[in-house]
Amino acid sequence: MIESTPALTTGLPVLTLLTVLPLAGAAIALCSGKHARAVALFTTIASLALALFIWSSLPLDGSMGMVERVSWAPSLGIEYHLGVDGLGALMLVLAAIVTLMSVDAAHRVHHQPNLYFGLVLILESGLFGSFTALNFFHWFLFWEISLIPAFFLIKLWGGTLRGPAATQFFVYTMAGSVALLLSFLAVFLSTGSMDFGYLTQLASTGALEKMVTTHLGPVTIWLAIGVLAGFAVKVPMIPFHTWLPAAYAEAPSPVTMLLTGAMSKMGVYGLLRIALPLFGHQISQMRTPLLVLAVATVVMGAWAAAAQKDLKRVFAYSSVNHLGYCLLGIFALAVPAAGAAAQASQAAVLNGVILQMFNHGVTAAALFWFVAMLQERTGGHRGIDQFGGIRKPAPVLAGLMGIVLFSSLGLPGLNGFVGEFLIFRGVFPLAWVAATVSVLGLLVTAAVILTVIQKVFTGPVPEHCVGFPDLHHGERMAMIPVIVLMLIIGLVPQLIVDSVNPTVVNLLAHWRF
């Protein structure tokens, strides 16, 4: 059953290089004491440059580029198989941007900075590895590897309730991973392969389900559920999200940036790379309950955000809401539909989902960056009612954070709108009830964000906010490129869609629902 392994693609192993780079940086950072942050900054800038290079040299037809493939443990179907398409490359860029922002925000780590930045870089490596792996074993390794530094970052540098938060985060994600692993073992037992490309091929002809049924009985739907469970926890989808508010709130803000900006995308990425290609038919069978959960994630996520008093929990739930649009789009894809109009809708949805992943990553990371700034300036305050009128002492901070907040709200002209518009454009003809209910999420999110602005920026200034320092020059220089990026994506989204759309076409052509 194991397909023949072609020889290693010629050329520089760029993707391996990209994955190893942060690891090497981590090793240096661990040994470099107080200069660890400088090492980390240097490494993350280099990683971003490399990721951008990879993104800019993608194959134009949307297929896998920069493929590296060597046999590893053939009897177990394990290969070292790497490659990126428009989806993977964009996620690499996102991971690199978010890690850089996170390292930049973490300039107040006094406790064991070498360990802190070492772990951050290991986490980055885990992200790169999981966005480039094309073999389950290899992919799973990085999926799990990224979890461990995240756990320690929360556990050792987190807030007062970091212990339970870290544990819950770890165990919950682990439980999802176990379900995922079991499903994949079953797939391996049935097909003898762990290769995503090959398995996608099998699934697109319906052979995968037949093989599983022959070997294990009619359990394919359970395997699909197992895989979905793993990703549902990671994204997260309501009701598998309870680890998130505590973890996001207790993690130090720069780590929260990583959790929401990059790691949550591993879940959506997994749905697109693994769940839909392999179990599209099963997901299609379960689409109604899944759409209900996606809508619940959108609407209830936004509403839960409205009830929070802690800025980090507000943005945590707001993240749940924003990723809910990705879920909505993904499950709407599983609605059976044929014809040119349906294809146009599906293309809109998938482009929208991928844009939304990127946009949410950038925007959410920027929001938590600002929370870090607010905390630093007030001795750790982050209650929504603990601020007021800081627009007066800190107009630049308020102005820039305002832009980021409106990006999160989905204001046209900024990045957040484009993805959401395309998702709604596509979902409405495919699943109009789900789309119609989900627009409530747009309204509630707006209410939440304007409440944040009202309470933090306007009104009388409380005592501990008098003399609140504005962003200094270095901080402005760090955030302005991010805001420029938001504007560019909002005004010229074609720049990203050009790299994504060929892959979208490619993916849709290989999925069977």
């Binding site: 050792l156 165990v171 009830a307 146009a344 009128g389 002209g413 409530l440």
Partner: protein, 690 residues
């Protein structure tokens, strides 16, 4: 009258159309530059802002002249420039701009009124510390509003529409240290967003149904030809066609922006913003954007009327408009804040415009939009001048006798007031309102809107008489030193006053220039225009109604100058009615007790569900795992043989590495999970082999 002759060739767009995008772009760029200026660069900011809008006005006039020139040659201009913003697969997300009579008139109005208000602002805001930022926001607003006007793509229109909403939000909350201003800004944004989410649904529906976002595209746009036919053939729910349903969704967006029932609640609160903002955004331009939107998508709104009669969408527009007109006019009677009276008046007049669109068509609604923009901007700026003169007092009961202290303001205000009330023959408001009334009189569906609008006219004359009596007549009840405003403020008033009278000339039945221009017909002067059956009777009726309103108002309030603490004249005679009107029919309270309460309650439910139900489930599972772990340990140590023990030990050393740094609970979980994995894999392998 001759019918439309032909369209200009679509491929050869004129040079002015090619550069039409500059009209919104110049103020937006100016806004960006001002944003980077230091706060001290006040003069430069104002110059940039006024200069850029001046350029927009010149370009708008050039565009208008081009359309008029073509029209005098019997041509109706509809020139578009479209481009693809975003392309994926076979789908094009197109944007573009359009020059036609509708956009040309609107461009001139917005840039002209805008420019006058900008100039006025240099006087009104002269002492504000955030003067520079104010001009930054104003310019951004003007650019976005002009963007709405020229959009030939419903998506581009929506993008500008939201940007307009953002600037409105920023300007209402401009004095952000006032909690009431911050709250009003939020309320405005959210209430309009309620309409906008429906609007967005309408857009995606229209886009997916017709495959285009463009209004006009050589026959392939969504407002022309086969796209409309297709939308009509497509049934939606409740007996509506897709065209009707989409029309209603778009109208929901328009109702939000234009303060129609039941989304009118934000507009009076928006008066928290500085007065130039009220004049520009919440009287003349942004609130009219909803009316303009309906005019823009009118082919869709009246689509099924192609076969005769009216459409569900237009019927809804009419009823909502007429109800808003009366409802808001009633509330205006019971207000004491000079700006709030005008705000409710604006809501009411927007209702007239909507009703005019619903019954009489684009020209009827748009004419009232244009005349109203001038006289209402005049009234707001006059109110600003008054507020300025009496040292930031806004309660009309604490004013009085200002006609001698502020003569220029008084004269111009009186002109605006007479135009608003529809004083016969001389003032523009009379003609534009009569157009609506005349259409309503002949509406085939129902007569009630006609009577409602007549009643609204009576109320308008009444509440404006009350306001003017309180402010300008009688004696000064509070402020000893009252000063007339500087000429930088009064000259714009005079110019607006001129238009408040003169604009009537282009919309009389004798010379219906405005209507002919918009509808692409030639306009000749002929007194036979008055010979239409019932027209003169209607003019007489509406004049009588207006004078009745004046008379009632004057008899109750004229020259009385009661002390501020004494009850209102109306309050003395009908206390319950006064209470209802003063408290705005308790709509805010109703929303507070329903929508807002539900929002807060449901947020708590969502949070409770999270903490108790889902969180409880997780805690329960964790507890069960813990129990199982205890049991397992017991079995481990007491029952299972050494071989199994050894296997467990290997696993626990893995966990032990973690144990060094944390409390110890995780490795228990890990061990259990690892054991579970091993066991389940074993089962799977076993079942696969058998």
């Amino acid at each position: 009258m001759q019918e439309t002759i032909s369209f200009t060739p679509q491929l050869a767009t004129s040079p002015i159309t090619e550069i039409l995008w500059l009209i919104p772009a110049v103020p937006i760029v100016a806004s960006g530059v001002i944003a980077l200026l230091k706060q001290e660069k006040r003069k430069l900011a104002a110059t940039l802002s006024i200069g850029s809008l001046g350029i927009s006005l010149l370009l708008s006039l050039a565009a208008f002249a081009h359309v008029v020139a073509a029209w005098t040659h019997g041509l109706t201009v509809r020139e578009t420039v479209n481009f693809t913003w975003l392309q994926f697969g076979t789908t094009n997300v197109d944007l573009g701009w359009i020059l036609d009579p509708l956009s040309a008139i609107m461009l001139v109005m917005v840039s002209l009124v805008g420019l006058l208000i900008f100039i006025y602002t240099t006087g009104y805001m002269a002492h504000d510390e955030n003067y520079t930022r104010f001009f930054c926001f104003l310019s951004l607003f003007a650019g976005a509003m002009l963007g709405v006007v020229i959009s030939n793509s419903i998506l581009l229109l929506f993008m500008n529409w939201e940007l307009v909403g953002l600037t409105s939000y920023l300007l209402i909350g401009f004095w952000y240290h006032k909690p009431s201003a911050a709250a009003a800004a939020k309320k405005a944004f959210l209430t309009t967003r309620v309409g906008d989410i429906f609007f967005l649904l309408g857009i995606v529906w229209l886009f997916s149904e017709t495959g285009t976002l463009l209004f006009y595209n050589h026959g392939a746009g969504s407002m022309e030809g086969w796209a409309l036919t297709g939308l009509l053939a497509q049934p939606a729910a409740l007996g509506l066609t897709a065209a009707g349903a989409i029309g209603l969704l778009i109208f929901a967006g328009a109702a939000g922006k234009s303060g129609q029932l039941p989304l009118h609640v934000w507009l009076p609160d928006a008066m928290e913003g500085p007065t130039p903002v009220s004049a520009l955004i919440h009287a003349a331009t942004m609130v009219a954007a909803g009316v303009y939107l309906i005019a823009r998508v009118y082919p869709l709104m009246q689509a099924s009327a192609l076969t005769g009669g009216t459409t569900t969408a237009l019927t809804v527009v009419t009823w909502v408009g007429a109800s808003t007109a009366v409802f808001a006019a009633l509330i205006a009677v019971g207000q004491n804040d000079i700006k709030r009276i005008l705000a409710y008046s604006t809501v009411s007049q927007l209702g007239y415009m909507m009703a005019g669109l619903g019954i009489g068509g684009v020209a009827v609604g748009m004419f009232h939009l244009i005349t109203h923009a001038f006289f209402k901007a005049l009234l707001f700026m006059g109110a600003g001048s008054v507020i300025h003169g009496v040292h930031e007092e806004q309660d009309i009961r604490r004013m009085g006798g200002l006609k001698s202290d502020m003569p220029l303001t008084f004269i111009t205000y009186a002109i605006g007031m007479l135009a608003l009330c529809g004083f016969p023959l001389v003032f523009s408001g009379f003609w534009s309102k009569d157009g609506i009334l005349e259409a309503a009189q002949h509406w085939s569906v129902a007569k009630a809107p006609f009577y409602m609008l007549i009643f609204g006219a009576l109320l308008t004359a009444f509440y404006m008489t009350r306001q003017v009596s309180y402010v300008f007549f009688g004696y000064n009840r509070r402020h000893k030193s009252v000063h007339e405003s500087p000429s930088v403020m009064t000259i714009p008033l005079a110019i607006l006053a001129f238009f408040a009278i003169a604009l009537g000339a282009i919309g009389t039945p004798a010379w219906p220039w405005f209507r002919a221009f918009l509808e692409g017909r030639s306009a000749g002067f002929s007194l036979h225009g008055f010979a239409e059956p019932g027209l003169l009777a209607l003019m007489a009726t509406s004049s009588v109604v207006v004078f009745l309103g004046f008379g009632l108002g004057w008899s109750l309030y004229g020259n009385k100058s009661p002390e501020p603490e004494t009850p209102d004249a109306l309050e003395k005679s009908v206390p319950w009615l006064w209470a209802v009107l003063r408290d705005k029919f308790y709509v805010d309270e109703l929303y507070g007790a329903t929508v807002i309460a539900f929002y807060a309650w449901w947020a708590r439910v969502a949070d409770w569900f999270d903490r108790r139900v889902w969180g409880g489930l997780v805690t329960g599972v964790a507890f069960a795992f813990g129990l199982w772990a205890q049991l397992n340990r017991f079995l481990d140590t007491n029952v299972v043989d050494g071989g199994f023990d050894k296997g467990c030990e290997e696993l626990s050393t893995g966990g032990g590495m973690l144990a060094g740094v944390q409390s110890g609970r995780v490795q228990t979980y890990l061990r259990i999970l690892a054991l579970a994995v091993v066991a389940l894999v074993g089962i799977l392998i076993w079942s696969a082999r058998s």
